[in-house]
Amino acid sequence: MTTPPILELRGVSKNFGNTLALHNINLEIANGEFLTLLGPSGCGKTTILRILSGFEAPTRGAVFLNGQEITSSPPELRQVNTVFQSYALFPHMSVWDNVAFGLRMQKRPKVEINQRVAEILRRVHLAEYGDRMPRQLSGGQQQRVAIARAIINNPLVLLLDEPFSALDLKLRKQMQFEIKHLQRQIGITFVFVTHDQEEAFAMSDRVVVMNEGTVIQVGSPQEIYEEPESLFVARFVGEINVLEGDIRAARPGGTYQAEVEGVPFILHSRREFAEGETVKVLLRPEDLKVYLEQEKAQQPPFFLGTINETVYKGATVDILRTLDNGKKLQAAEFFNEDDADITYRPGDRVSVTWVEGWEVVLNAEGE
């Protein structure tokens, strides 16, 4: 990164009593970036957010905002604002007063406050709702008020703590789109916390995958999904098939002669493996190709197996089947308009292979 980071965590650890909530977190967040902290509940992502907002102090380590150390400065003195999970709108104040709160605390002139509140309410499509009380709004509208109330202060960083968890699926998708759009418009750095990988991928420039208080992997959504560095990440960000393999011989150009579930395959990987090493071969359901045995003659290599079950999912069909050696695999196929009548029935014999080079190979200890 050539420009200095807007936000930086250096060696941050946090203990709650004897529990280690965060362990040595190092993270740099670039100005204007949309960064998501992704992980299962209890992984420490919300603790990071509360350390950034100033509601928790790290046990060890330091936090820098725009080059200034803010490790021990209180929330009200940080140029950081939060959209809370429960919105935390002041129930005794109108929408207008809620949004104006931050500017009033800064003792801005009335004219400026009126102008900026009106502008921000227009931006979140709530221009007509200034007089309403929070209780009179729908969940989506309350969400917009919470966002407006936070961004009106022009924070250097906006923190969002699972802001969509109370919304239904359709509204959540719409708000994801709106927030992403808003972030591009105003150019403020967003740090977003979620346990929903789909949400993380849809919105973020970079995703930080966390587990048990440590950062497991940082990367673009595509890197995280296609190049997981560990089995945890691979499993957390989507369905995955894990196959057992043995490296037989290394070849030039990052390819390996290997045996996967007893069938010889060529594996591609940027990682180094030794001859005879046991590996795990990870394949996304949508990367698998399934053919009925009688359909057409397949170029080896492939696995042979039997269809167990198909699950209709609307846009895709999940196909569960068992390889001849007993291994269970899951594949997802998109409907193909050209041969819409291809259906699999339980008991059908099939051959299975994958698009060469789309596999992820990890060493067997990479759990």
């Binding site: 509601f55 005794h92 605390m105 009179q136």
Partner: protein, 298 residues
């Protein structure tokens, strides 16, 4: 939407509601109406009153003697309400924020005096502030004072007695409203740039206002009407409203005047109840207000 109750359940519901109404009507509304009626009747030195209508009793309430009594009582009640509020709020706050292990013990500190007969507690206070009381003994022992302070039979003693007796009535409603408070709101206020003081002023206080008002009513009204505390702890010099009313009924045998002054107290209660309803609606963000009616009006 509403579940249709079975005939039996419906009859039970009607019967229990009717029972409550009957009880309230017989033992609360009716006596008060009789009291109000008596307030408009003439005084009789032999019987209790004679049935001729008059406004004399209310006119007498504007006499300097009664106004003096009223003013002294209100002043004392306001002072003890204020001190109760200032003492109770931090305690109620600590109580609401206390951990699960500490909280029952703190609550017990409030509940025990709350359950103890207040007459006994008032007499107990004599042991504390009397000439040979604990306060004087300690202060003498420490050399803070040369001679025992005369605390008993003063306005201060009455004030201390009221504050001590009615403090739990302030703590409990405050605790209830602080405990309900979403801690996220204080976080939000701080996040938006409010320091601790302004967070309290703009968020915590307005949202716990129903508790403040309820507690103030529960302390102010009994303080205003109390007669045993001033009689036990107070001097003979300053008569208070409670003693005044009691004297009209029991000593001066002037029931109409007692009824009139007592009605004024009841009116005050009604006004304060209206105030309470108003503040709790505001704190709830119009939640208790007829929401649909408001929407229809727009």
């Amino acid at each position: 939407m509403e579940r249709v109750p079975s005939p039996g359940a419906s009859r039970f519901r009607e019967a229990s509601i009717a029972g409550t109404w009957l009880w309230l009507g017989l033992f609360a509304l009716l006596p008060n109406l009789v009291l109000l009626l008596v307030a408009f009747l003439d005084r009789d030195t032999v019987g209790f009153f004679i049935p001729s209508l008059t406004l004399d009793n209310f006119r007498e309430l504007f006499a300097p003697v009664f106004l003096g009594v009223l003013w002294d009582s209100i002043r004392l009640a306001l002072c003890s309400t204020l001190v109760c509020l200032l003492a109770a709020y931090p305690f109620a706050y600590a109580l609401a924020k206390a951990g699960p292990r500490l909280r029952p013990w703190l609550l017990l500190l409030v509940i025990i005096p709350f359950w103890t007969n207040s007459l006994i507690r008032t007499y107990a206070l004599i042991l504390m502030i009397g000439a040979q009381g604990l306060v004087n003994k300690c202060a003498l022992g420490l050399g803070l004072i040369g001679a025992p302070l005369e605390l008993m039979y003063t306005d201060f003693a009455v004030f201390a007695g009221m504050t001590y007796t009615f403090l739990p009535f302030m703590i409990l409603p405050l605790y209830a409203s602080i405990e309900k408070l979403d801690p996220g709101l204080a976080d939000a206020a701080k996040d938006l740039g409010a320091g601790s003081l302004r967070t309290f002023w703009h968020s915590t206080l307005p949202l716990t206002l129903p508790g403040v008002v309820a507690g103030c009513i529960l302390v102010f009204l009994p303080s205003l009407g109390s007669f045993y505390i001033p009689e036990i702890l107070g001097g003979a010099t300053n008569m208070l409203l409670g003693t005044f009313i009691k004297n009209q009924f029991l000593v001066a045998k002037n029931w109409p005047l007692g009824a009139a002054s007592s009605s004024v107290l009841t009116l005050l209660l009604v006004l304060l109840a209206v105030l309470y309803r108003f503040t709790s609606q505001r704190a709830a963000g119009g939640y208790n207000a007829p929401l649909n009616a408001r929407r229809d009006g727009e």
